[in-house]
Subunit: 386 residues, 2 copies
DNA sequence: ATTCTTCATGCAAGCGATTGCATCATTTTT
DNA sequence: AAAAATGATGCAATCGCTTGCATGAAGAAT
C-alpha cells in the first residue's frame, strides 16, 4: 500500500494499472517505498514479541513461550531469565495471535436491551467484576428491545469469536432459533433475567414470583383493593412469573383477579405513546394501586401518569420493579422491588465461564433464582413534601 | 492437550511425565487421541475458511481473498462465482486472523466513568451509531472515577489491540502520561467531555461555559441572589469552564462572586458522604439557589438535601447539568442543563475514525464544542404537587 | 513478427503465539 | 554395560488471512 507512488493509468481501460509504479515518469524500484511503509506499520505499537526475546536471549521461540506460560518442561533457571527479560522489555503477549492459535478470544459477549437501564448496568457491573478477575474481556451490545437488532448484534459478536454469550432477550424476541444454531455449533450461552423456555442451558433470574407477590401484598396491606398490573410483553418469561405472583397475592387476600386490570406493553416502554395508551385504558377502571413489572415501565408509567392525568397521579399507590438509585427522588414516591442485579451478573458469569472452560460437554443445567428486595415507600416523606 | 490421555507419573520427581502417554498400562499411539481432540476443536464453530472455498472452487486462497475483498485484479466472473459460493456456505471472514495480519482489530475502546450515568450511556449510543456503520466494534470500560482503574482499563484495551480510544477522564485523573505514551506509540485518542489540556489531539466537549451561564442566569432571573455552586473535581476541564460560566452570569447581574459558595467534590459524587458533607457546609451560608455541574452530582445533591435537610430541600432552587430522562419525576423539581450527549459521541467517533484511517500523521487538531440545552423547571408542576 | 501492456491468477512469506515431536545429554534402572 | 527413563530445548507446522511479486496468456503497439 505504497501511498507515495503514482500508479500508472492504463490507456485502454482508464483504470489504474497495477504492478507498475511510477515516480514522475520513471519506473522506480518499489522496495524503497514498500520498506518505508512497512516500517511505518512496524513502528505503530512497537511491542516486543516472543521472537525478539528469543533472539535476544539466544533461545528458541518455543522455549520462550513455554517459559512465559510456566510450563514444567522448562528449567527454573531458564524461566527466571526469560521472565526477567520479558519484564524488562515490558513484553505483552499479543492476544490476537493467541486467539487465532487457540481458537478462542477470552472475551464474552453481553446483550441487554439498554445499558441506560439501571438494572442492566448493575448486572453489567456484576459481570465485569467476575470476568476481569478471570481474565476475560466483555463486549456489550444493546438490542434496544428490537429483535432484529438483537439478532444482528449476536451474530456480529459470534463472528468476532466470543467464547460465550450472556443474554437477556429483548421484549420483542420470540424466535430464538438463531441462538439455538449458535449453541449447537458450540457457543456457550447463559440467559439471565429474560430467559426462554425450552432451551437447555444455565439461566439466572430473580425470584420474580416472590418479588411480585410481596409488592402486591404490600399494596393490599396499605388498603388498596383495585390493583392494576402494568407489565411487559406477554412473551417474556418474567412477565409470566410476575403475573403469577400478582395473582397469588390477590388470591391470598380474597381479591378477585380481573384480566382487564392487566395491561401488556409490547415494547417494554420504549415508546411513551405505548405507556400513555395503557394508562389511559387503565384509569377508567379506577385503580387505587398499580403494580408494575419492569424498570423502564415503572418510571415510564409514572411519567405518563403525571403527563396525562396529573390530578390522580398522587392518589394511586404505585409499586414496581426498578433498580433505580433515584427512587427516593421520585414524586409521586413509590414502593420498589429491587432485583439483585449485581449478583445476577456475577452468578451468570460464573456459570458461563464454567461452561466455556469445561473439558467436556455439559449435560446438567441449573436455573438460579435470586431473591428480590422490597423497598417500601417512605410514607411520611411522600406526604410531607406534597 | 489430549485430555483423554493418562500422563505417566515420573517416579523420581513425582511430577507428571511428558512425552509418554499411557492408556492403562500400554503406551499408545498418540495420533488416535490427538486427532480426536483436533476434531473436537475443529467442530467447535465449524466455519468455512478461505481455504475451503479455494479448494471447492479450484482456486488459490489468494484469488478467493481478493475476490471477497473486491479487488480490481480479479475478473468479474471469478468474483461472481466466489461470492456466490461464499454466500452459499455462509462464509464469514475470521476477524481474528484478519486482525493479526493487518495489525488492527477494527475495534475502538471507550472509557467512561459509569455506564449507569445517563450522559455517558447516551454518548455511547452516539458512538455506536457511527462505529457500527463503519464496521467498527466498540469495547466499553468503566473507570468508576478511579485513576487506577482507568489506567488499568486503558492498558488492558491497548493490549487487546484496539485501533483507537475514546476517553472521558475520571475525576481523579491528573497524570495522563500513560496516555501520552500510548499516543506516541501510535494509538489514536480522542477525548470527550473531560479533556486534558496540553494534549494535542481532537477533543469534543459541550459548551460548558454557555450551559453554566444559562443555568445560573436562569436562577438569577427567578429571583435568586445567593447562588451556590456544587461542582466536580477541580482538575477536570469542564469544572473550570463551568465555573467560568457561573462567574460570568453573576458578573452580568452584578452579584458578587463568593468563593465559599463553591464546593468541589473530588470523587464526582461517587460517595454519598462527600455530597452530604458539601451540603452541610453550604447550608449555613443560606443559599437560595444551587447550580450543580454534573449529572451524578445533581441527583446526588438533591438526595443529600432530602436526606439531611428535608425541611429546606424544597426552598432552594436547583439548576444542574443532567441528562437524566427522569427529571420530570424528581421532587424537588429542577432546571436542567442537557448536554448533546448523543452528538458528542457521534462527533468524537467520526474524528477518531478519521484519525485511525488517516494515511499520514495528522497535525491539525480540532476541539469541537456543541451547545447544551436548558430545560426549565415546570414551575406550576413543581408546586401543584408539593 | 517482435516487444510491450494489460489482465488474471497462483506462490509463498508472513502476522505472533502454541505445541507435538525429535533430539540429545544426563541420569537411573536392570 | 546396556537399556530405559528423564529433563531441557529446538524445529517446524499451524491457526486464517493478506499481499508483493512472479508467471503466463492474450491483446496492442511498433
Amino acid at each position: 500500500m505504497p501511498t507515495d507512488l503514482t500508479k500508472k493509468v492504463c490507456k485502454r481501460s482508464q483504470k489504474r494499472c497495477f504492478n507498475v509504479y511510477l515516480l514522475g515518469r520513471f519506473r522506480i524500484p518499489k522496495e524503497i517505498f514498500f520498506v518505508t511503509w512497512e516500517q511505518v506499520l512496524k513502528m505503530r505499537f512497537e511491542t516486543s514479541t516472543i521472537k525478539d526475546i528469543a533472539k535476544a536471549l539466544g533461545l528458541s521461540t518455543s522455549t520462550v513461550s513455554r517459559a512465559l506460560r510456566d510450563r514444567y518442561e522448562i528449567s527454573e533457571e531458564t524461566k527466571k531469565i526469560v521472565l526477567a527479560y520479558a519484564e524488562k522489555v515490558n513484553y505483552r503477549a499479543n492476544p490476537i495471535a493467541r486467539s487465532l492459535k487457540e481458537r478462542r478470544s477470552y472475551s464474552i459477549g453481553i446483550i441487554v436491551s439498554e445499558i441506560a437501564n439501571n438494572f442492566f448496568s448493575q448486572v453489567i457491573n456484576g459481570i465485569e467484576s467476575i470476568a476481569y478477575n478471570k481474565d476475560y474481556h466483555v463486549i456489550i451490545s444493546q438490542s434496544h428491545e428490537s429483535y432484529k437488532q438483537e439478532k444482528l448484534n449476536v451474530e456480529h459478536l459470534a463472528s468476532r469469536s466470543i467464547d460465550g454469550l450472556l443474554i437477556a432477550l429483548s421484549s420483542e424476541t420470540q424466535d430464538i432459533d438463531y441462538l439455538r444454531d449458535l449453541y449447537a455449533k458450540g457457543l456457550p450461552i447463559v440467559f439471565f433475567d429474560r430467559v426462554p423456555e425450552n432451551f437447555e442451558t444455565h439461566k439466572v433470574i430473580a425470584n420474580n414470583f416472590k418479588g411480585s407477590f410481596d409488592a402486591t401484598e404490600h399494596l393490599i396491606l396499605s388498603g388498596k383493593r383495585v390493583i392494576a398490573h402494568l407489565t411487559n410483553s406477554e412473551t417474556l418469561s418474567n412477565t409470566k412469573e410476575r403475573l403469577e405472583g400478582y395473582k397469588a397475592a390477590l388470591t391470598k387476600y380474597h381479591i378477585e383477579f380481573k384480566p382487564e386490570l392487566v395491561k401488556y406493553c409490547q415494547h417494554g416502554g420504549m415508546h411513551s405513546a405505548e405507556l400513555e395508551q395503557a394508562v389511559k385504558e387503565l384509569l377508567p377502571l379506577k385503580p387505587d394501586g398499580i403494580f408494575i413489572s419492569s424498570d423502564r415501565l415503572t418510571t415510564g408509567c409514572i411519567l405518563a401518569l403525571k403527563n396525562t392525568n396529573p390530578e390522580v397521579a398522587h392518589k394511586i399507590a404505585i409499586a414496581g420493579f426498578t433498580n433505580s438509585n433515584l427512587v427516593e427522588l421520585f414524586s409521586p414516591s413509590l414502593t420498589s422491588v429491587k432485583q439483585p442485579a449485581f449478583e445476577i451478573g456475577q452468578v451468570a458469569t460464573e456459570l458461563l465461564i464454567s461452561m466455556i472452560e469445561a473439558k467436556r460437554p455439559i449435560t446438567e443445567f441449573e436455573t438460579k433464582i435470586l431473591d428480590t428486595e422490597l423497598v417500601r415507600m417512605k410514607k411520611n416523606l411522600g406526604n410531607r413534601f406534597l
